[in-house]
Amino acid sequence: MGVLVIAEHDNAALNAATLHAVTAAQALGGDITVLVAGSGSGAVADAAAKVAGVANVLHADDAALANGLAENVAPVIAKLAPDYSHTLATHTTFGRNVMPRAAALLDVQQISDISEVVSPDTFVRPIYAGNAIATVQTSDAVKLVTVRATAFEAAAAEGGSASVSAVEAAGDSGLSSFVGQALSSSERPELTSARIVISGGRGMQSGDNFALLEQIADLLGAAVGASRAAVDAGFAPNDYQVGQTGKVVAPDCYIAVGISGAIQHLAGMKDSKVIVAINKDEDAPIFQVADYGLVADLFQAVPALAKELKKQGTA
């Protein structure tokens, strides 16, 4: 039967998030086929064919698929999915938008945001923002699953030599159209795939003060994040938000600066390998999950940290 993985991309490059779904697919067994649905997306299909462990690439290329509109992409997935034991996508905003629509077209109860494959019909997934971990078994013959990227290693982007074949798109639904996008551009690594993340909270006091964190980020090659409190206060844009309702990250090192550690923030970062907290309130809940805690005024500690990193030549 094999496993179908839905590629996420911008028609030019394969999103690294897809590599994590490929690893989850390997845990299920069977040949792995990647679907690239886009427009002018030949480079993405070629990149998907090179991913280690991928046997086939299906390439649906149509103007209606240019912007990943769920109304046009979901029917393509729904048509292909019955030929596979499982269809997987990463639990990103793309996967969360498209996959349930395909699942309902197939009368399938999707399983969202899995963190572990127990067996081909049984999966582990966090519920209540990771405050409880559920193991669920599905009775659906066709299984649609979204995958928590941080719970599965990325498959190697090179090493495969899959064949690419064309499949038909489903046309344009005429129900929706793409107007535009405002994507944050940054030289820094992407938040969800960065090896080090430094995040600021309400304690940063202003958006301008995030420059302090950016300086550390540039010294360490880190991404910059923020708590919901900082985003709500307008200190940082929404795509910086780490937490239950924002992004889930699990870097090697997470540095929380001026973040108290609300439950909903912890939900987005507590799987990080090493957690550092800098906060002047020694009773802040963030210290209960931090491997290294520094009780200090961030406006002194962060510049001192920058100086120390420069001195030690870590950069």
């Binding site: 769920a70 109304e71 979901a74 990103t92 905003t93 969360r96 938008n97 349930p100 629509r101 699942a103 309902a104 399938v108 109860q109 999707q110 969202s112 945001d113 519920i127 209540y128 990771g130 405050n131 409880a132 971990i133 559920a134 193991t135 669920v136 078994q137 009775s139 129900l175 929706s176 159209s177 107007v179 535009g180 996008q181 405002a182 994507l183 944050s184 360490l220 919901r228 709500d232 929404n238 795509d239 239950q244 309702t245 090697d252 090192c253 439950i263 090493v274 957690i275 550092v276 020694e282 931090a290 491997d291 290294y292 805690g293 520094l294 009780v295 940290l305 120390e308 990193l309 870590t314």
Partner: protein
């Protein structure tokens, strides 16, 4: 235009969730329950549309245990006009909920259905998209800005890389993100008035929908505990530990 809003009764977001000792689920007895925070945003958005004259009627719908009627009353106190309650067991799955909503939409014929982008209990983030598929309607998920225009709507969506703007034909499905609006608090006079607003109750059988579960919960466990680490005295010690002990920088 009639607007349908979905409201779910969940454990209050400020409550620390506890896993039951027998690992069958989480403790719900004697726990404060509230409206799912994303659903408060749905109600607020619909009520603002009514206040702006773009919506004529706001209907709040909840699927769940009998106490879900309290959640509907909260929506009515915020400004919804009437409520519909479909009685269902705790843990009803998103696909079944979407089917029940489809049956209600077929009866009510709204121009817009607004749902939360996810419920903070099972965090599935599926129901709105599934309902859109079952109805053959367009969907705008994770919406932080909504504008109605002739025959359609323009929605700004919060996506991983930033913001995306799409146009949808009506009728349509919208799911809300946090920054769409700030929900109002229900005032005491409005809470009193809400008690007199109409609230219909029905069963899945009345709607002709099979709500049978596809998933079996094998077990629910506590997440792996994370022990508090050490406090460091100063920045120099911190950098030393990160470099030489944790080896992450």
């Amino acid at each position: 235009m009639k607007v349908l809003v979905a409201v779910k009764r969940v454990i209050d977001y400020n409550v620390k969730v506890r896993v039951k000792a027998d690992n069958t689920g989480v403790e719900l007895a004697n726990v404060k329950m509230s409206m799912n925070p994303f659903d408060e945003i749905c109600v607020e958005e619909a009520v603002r549309m009514k206040e702006a004259g773009t919506a004529e009627e706001v209907v709040a719908v909840s699927i769940g245990v009998p106490q879900a009627q309290e959640t509907i009353r909260t929506a009515l106190a915020m400004g919804a006009d009437r409520g519909i309650h479909v009685e269902a067991e705790q843990g009803i799955e998103p696909l079944a909920v979407a089917k029940l909503f489809k049956a209600i939409v077929d009866k009510e014929q709204p121009g817009l259905v607004i749902l939360g982008k996810q419920a903070i209990d099972d965090d599935s983030s599926q129901t709105g998209q599934m309902l859109a598929a079952l109805l053959g309607w367009p969907q705008a998920t994770f919406v932080s800005k909504l504008e109605l225009a002739a025959g359609g709507l323009t929605a700004t969506r919060e996506v991983d890389g930033g913001l995306e703007t799409i146009k949808l034909a009506l009728p349509a499905i919208v799911t809300t993100d946090l920054r769409l609006n700030e929900p109002r608090y229900a005032t005491l006079p409005n809470i009193m008035k809400a008690k007199k607003k109409p609230l219909d109750s029905m069963s899945p059988a009345d709607l002709g929908v099979d709500v049978g579960a596809r998933l079996t919960v094998v077990k629910v466990e506590d997440p792996p505990a994370r022990d508090a680490g050490v406090k460091v005295a100063d920045v120099a010690e911190l950098v030393d530990k990160l470099k030489n002990e944790a080896k992450v920088i």
